[in-house]
């Protein structure tokens, strides 16, 4: 199984923020969720991968080839959906398409029309009159109409109602069906990832905190609830993070058996991705 995207040692400094040694790999046939709180570095990383921002150091390989030396060829195979404001609003969708389509050698007008129909978008409508959901659908149409093998999306689902979100996720899974594709999307809406993600990469303060299979994470970590009195200096270390209230504690741990030995009368549950993400983010502090 080859890797669709390999990022190694990315570094980039801004005045108040920097990316530190960001490295991760996207295997083929996987939907990878790039998660983190706002300002963690998701958009910066994606902009660097797409060549919009310049890195201080590091390498980016797509389909096994170096991005810098094969930029045009590789970008041809990448479909992009970015956060707001990426169109010329005064144009109609067809006009915008007429500018973007020639950039891609694999452009298919047939696919374009099919997606526009599927999303019930009127190509002669002005972009400024579209709702947020329709803009995202249009961006997705453009991204999916040129035979791309890798979809890179920055917060595609934020600002969308649950129905549109679930349509989008369905499209992502449909996209993966033929095989040999990859999807990389950043989000802070972790419930979407619960449904479709295969791999999860967490970034925080410009550093990668983990890069794991989603099911493994959900298998290995547990949400433990118990009496505050059961906590002592020793068993606190078994938890990634603990929150206490007057009525008890809730903690996230991957050492369940040791916790079970150390305290009785606990409630054990499967965590959500949100629990795991927050535990890693808070646990570090």
């Amino acid at each position: 199984m080859s890797n669709i995207l390999e990022v190694t040692g990315l570094n980039k400094s801004y005045k108040k923020f920097s990316l530190n040694d960001v490295s991760f790999t996207l295997p083929e046939d996987c939907i990878t969720g790039f998660i983190g709180v706002n300002g963690a570095g998701k958009t910066t990383t994606i902009r660097i991968i797409l060549g919009l921002a310049h890195k201080a150091s590091g390498t980016i390989k797509v389909f096994g080839k170096d991005m810098e030396s094969n930029e045009k060829e590789l970008k041809n195979r990448i479909g992009i959906v970015l956060d707001e404001g990426y169109f010329y609003d005064e144009l109609t969708m067809d006009e915008m398409k007429s500018i973007i389509a020639p950039a891609y050698s694999g452009w298919s007008d047939k696919d374009y029309k099919e997606y526009m129909d599927r999303f019930t978008l009127n190509p002669r409508q002005k972009i400024s009159t579209l709702s947020r959901g329709m803009r995202t659908k249009f961006a997705l149409t453009l991204a999916l109409s040129h035979g791309a093998d890798l979809l890179i999306m920055d917060e595609p689902t934020s600002g969308l109602d649950p129905l549109v979100r679930s349509q989008l996720l369905e499209i992502m899974t449909d996209y993966m069906k033929p095989g040999g594709k990859g999807v990389f999307f950043s989000t802070h809406i972790t419930s979407d990832l619960d449904k479709v993600a295969d791999m999860l990469i967490l970034i925080h303060n410009g550093k990668i905190l983990f890069e794991k299979e989603k099911d493994c994470l959900l298998d290995n970590f547990r949400l433990v609830k118990g009496d505050n009195k059961a906590l002592n200096d020793e068993n606190r270390k078994l938890f990634l993070s603990i929150q206490t209230t007057d009525f008890g504690f809730t903690g996230v741990t991957d050492k369940l058996s040791e916790v079970q030995k150390s305290m009785a009368d606990i409630l054990v549950e499967r965590p959500t991705i949100e629990n795991i993400m927050l535990a890693h983010v808070e646990g570090g502090q």
Binding site: A53, E71, Y86, Y88, I100
Partner: protein, 214 residues
């Protein structure tokens, strides 16, 4: 690819482009009829200068309204160098249109107004020099700051002779020598100069834009 980006510039400023295109035809016509004593060269220079500068400003303004759109295009497989070249191509295309429009109008209204090659090349060189300085400045500092810098520069240049009249009074350049140079040599020199300025400007703009974070 290149032409599609030029098309993009025209699309986003559709209405303005149309108005200017009409103006370029109307103005020489108007001048010839109303004030025939004004040399054709002046009116040609005027439409080129106005057309290029105004359209450039308008397009940059529209572009600046939607900065992420350019980012999206650069993230697609349009190379950044093509973006740069498109701006210069637009200049050349507009110049060609001005020349054709002017010449056609003159052929109809006032045969004497048709300009010779030397005059055309002179206007071209002047245009390229102005444009060739403005574009890299705009790529580097953005449309708003570039316009600001240029306005200040033009005002300063305009004031220069007034403020330093003494200095300028003592300078007497003998232009009569120029008249004896054969036209073909003048043309070649003008053409080469235009190409040189053009080339340097493109290289500068490309370097600037390639290194910019979008």
């Amino acid at each position: 690819m290149l032409l599609h980006l030029v098309k993009k510039d025209i699309l986003i400023a559709k209405k303005y482009v149309l108005v200017i295109m009409l103006f370029i035809i109307a103005f020489p016509l108007f001048v010839t009829v109303v004030a025939p004593q004004i040399e054709g060269l002046i009116s040609f220079l005027y439409i080129v200068a106005l057309g290029e500068i105004v359209l450039l400003q308008v397009i940059s303004q529209e572009e600046a309204k939607y900065p992420k759109a350019a980012a999206l295009l650069c993230a697609s497989s349009y190379p950044r160098s093509t973006f740069v070249k498109a701006k210069y191509t637009f200049f050349l295309l507009l110049f060609a249109y001005c020349y054709i429009a002017y010449t056609l109008v003159m052929l109809v209204v006032n045969r004497a107004g048709v300009l010779d090659l030397t005059a055309i090349l002179t206007v071209l060189l002047v245009g390229i020099i102005i444009y060739g300085i403005y574009i890299p400045v705009e790529f580097k500092f953005g449309a708003v700051k570039a316009r600001f810098i240029f306005t200040i520069a033009i005002l300063a240049l305009a004031l220069g002779p007034m403020l330093f009249t003494d200095l300028f009074a003592n300078i007497t350049i003998d232009f009569s020598a120029l008249a004896t140079i054969p036209a073909s040599i003048k043309n070649i020199v003008l053409a080469l100069a235009s190409i040189a300025v053009f080339g340097i400007s493109i290289m500068a703009s490309t370097k600037i834009y390639l290194n910019k974070d979008l």
